[in-house]
Amino acid sequence: MKTTNKKTNKKTWEESYKKSGLRDADFSSISGRPLQPLYTADDLSGFDADAELGFPGEFPFTRGIHPSMYRGRLWTMRQFSGMGTPEQTNLRYKFLLEKGQTGLSVAFDNPTLYGRDSDHALSSGEVGKTGVAVDTLADMERLFHKIPLGRISTSMTINAPAAWIFTMFLANAEKQGVPFGELRGTLQNDILKEYIAQKEWIFPPEPHLRLITDLMAFCADHVPQWNTISISGYHIREAGSTAAQELAFTLADGFCYVEHASRAGMDVDDFAPRLSFFFNSHLDFFEEIAKMRAARRIWARHMKDRYKAKNPRSWLCRFHVQTAGCSLTAQQPEINIVRTALEALAGVLGGCQSLHTNSMDEALALPSEKAVEIALRTQQIIAFESGVANAIDPLGGSYFIEKLTAELEEEAEKYFRKIDELGGVVKAIEQGFFQREITRAAYEYQLALSRKKKFLVGVNEFVNRDEQLEIPILEIDESVERDQIRRLNEVRKNRDNLAVRSRLEALEEAAAGTANLTPHLLDCARVYATLGEISDALIKVFGEYQEQPFY
């Protein structure tokens, strides 16, 4: 009797819905996902809450990785930051720590990200511009001057030369007298998404994968609290992917690292607990929350069932979230504060472990102190004022959210099958599969903006034609490049150059063999070999990667 009633009601509603006038608008998600006007129990027919959700801290972790989630510990508020010289960045870190930030996150400049020294021909004009320049251990010493590395966790966003930036960090910890076992933090170290989206590589995929596996093995023995990799969807999304592509490609990369390390002879439970993830939180509120919930469920299922991990920590998809840089507008930058707040809220409702909120001025320049303080305050309002951290996974059980979570999981599985058909992640990269999928999605979104099917306030609608920019803009002085190059030359002059040469030769020799390269990279860092010298030594053995340009 009851059931009949329910069905009749839904039908009645459907008829009234069809008769009502609808706005002339596009009701799909920002990724172009078609959405129903209403989600009901019918959408979850056959839904098994025990199997699909479990409880927080229990398989498949859809509702969160910890039993107590934010009641136990709030997410880490970690603002990605770096600019100019190591001294300038060191001051910004001290400023952020004083304002209540709870972890550090280093942004390196482009030459550093590509493993080039500040005086390399391609570095011209780029030194210190979008992050801090680090050429040698001496810069690492300045960057963390009077910051106790044993007491704060540090994240370093670097990929192609990640292993030798990390060994410079380790060498600096030695000089500070901090044992490796006490170091906590994360190295991004995710080369696959570089080929897919961010395009900062040095070698072809195989040698990069070896360096990553070597680092995982080294850290398992010597730096056990370190997250050796942060498998990142962030950049995939920034390059224009849909939410489902971000989810699928990121987790596929994760599986590829697991397979590579397993093939190298490591036990999955020896390295998997130190794998971490990094997702974007874009504007489409519910789709983003569903994406993060789906990520936990998919990872747990694959790690347990497919890769036979026994340690429950190996099943956990722990992740950092950054709000979407690509959603920020140069027009009316102050309203980016609101966009970022919504995206940050989605990250928290999605159950992130740490969060970066973008500053309002980031479509114009690196953030000013004022802008970054507001961004941090946004997180503090969510954490301490809004009340959303009081109950765990508050949207769990919502017809809409659970349906979306399931849909995203299905789409990701479809992509995994496609990638397998192409011969795996590396083969798919070489065929340009990911790059094409992303480029197409980016173009479609831009067209939707152009045709006003999608909107950006202040950009294609509600435009303020007489706008005057009223916020401070940070500028990096041209003198940074000169100063950094001068310092680099001083280091080259004053170090033990015989030791540098012998360590670099030993590295080259090891690279040609099969030994773990991390101890050799640490030896090079200790004697102040430069980032570029180490890159060049390895390029001699591994070669450089070239991408076929296409659009």
């Binding site: 391609l122 780029e126 690509c326 479509a363 980016a442 152009s450 202040g458 659009y551």
Partner: protein
């Protein structure tokens, strides 16, 4: 002349992997009937100008989100002058502050585009320039 396609070189100079904008614009220009040669990443001012000579391009478009725009635009402009390409259009896009846009005007780059600019505006800008330079 008007039935001849406008030929555009698009390139990413320096160490900057942000190629979303460059690729989206390249596609939009092709859709608008132009011929696009996308050189890809890690280009130098020299490689870009050489390609423009080889391809006899009408337009060079640089995409720079790394903050190195002043260095690269200035150098490409100089090389264009040295190679007799002063009659071609140099433009581009990226994160380029208003203050720097003014400086770029002074060295012969009348307009660059930024976040939020409409694809159609970029297409029209190039078409209008071409029209006034071939009429």
């Amino acid at each position: 002349m008007s039935d001849q396609k406008i030929k555009v070189i698009i390139a990413k100079p320096g160490l900057d992997g942000h190629d979303r904008g460059a690729k989206v614009v390249a596609r939009a220009l092709v859709e608008a009937g132009m011929e696009v040669v996308y050189l890809g990443l890690r280009q130098t001012p020299e490689s870009i100008v050489n390609a423009a000579i080889e391809e006899d391009a009408d337009v060079i478009g640089l995409s720079i989100l790394s903050g190195a725009h002043m260095t690269h635009f200035r150098r490409v402009r100089e090389l264009m002058a040295e190679n007799g390409l002063d009659d071609r259009l140099l433009t581009g896009g990226g994160i380029i502050p208003t203050r720097d846009q003014e400086k770029l005007k002074e060295i012969g780059i009348p307009k660059v585009f930024g976040p939020g600019d409409d694809l159609q505006d970029i297409v029209s800008y190039i078409q209008n320039w071409h029209h006034s330079h071939t009429a």
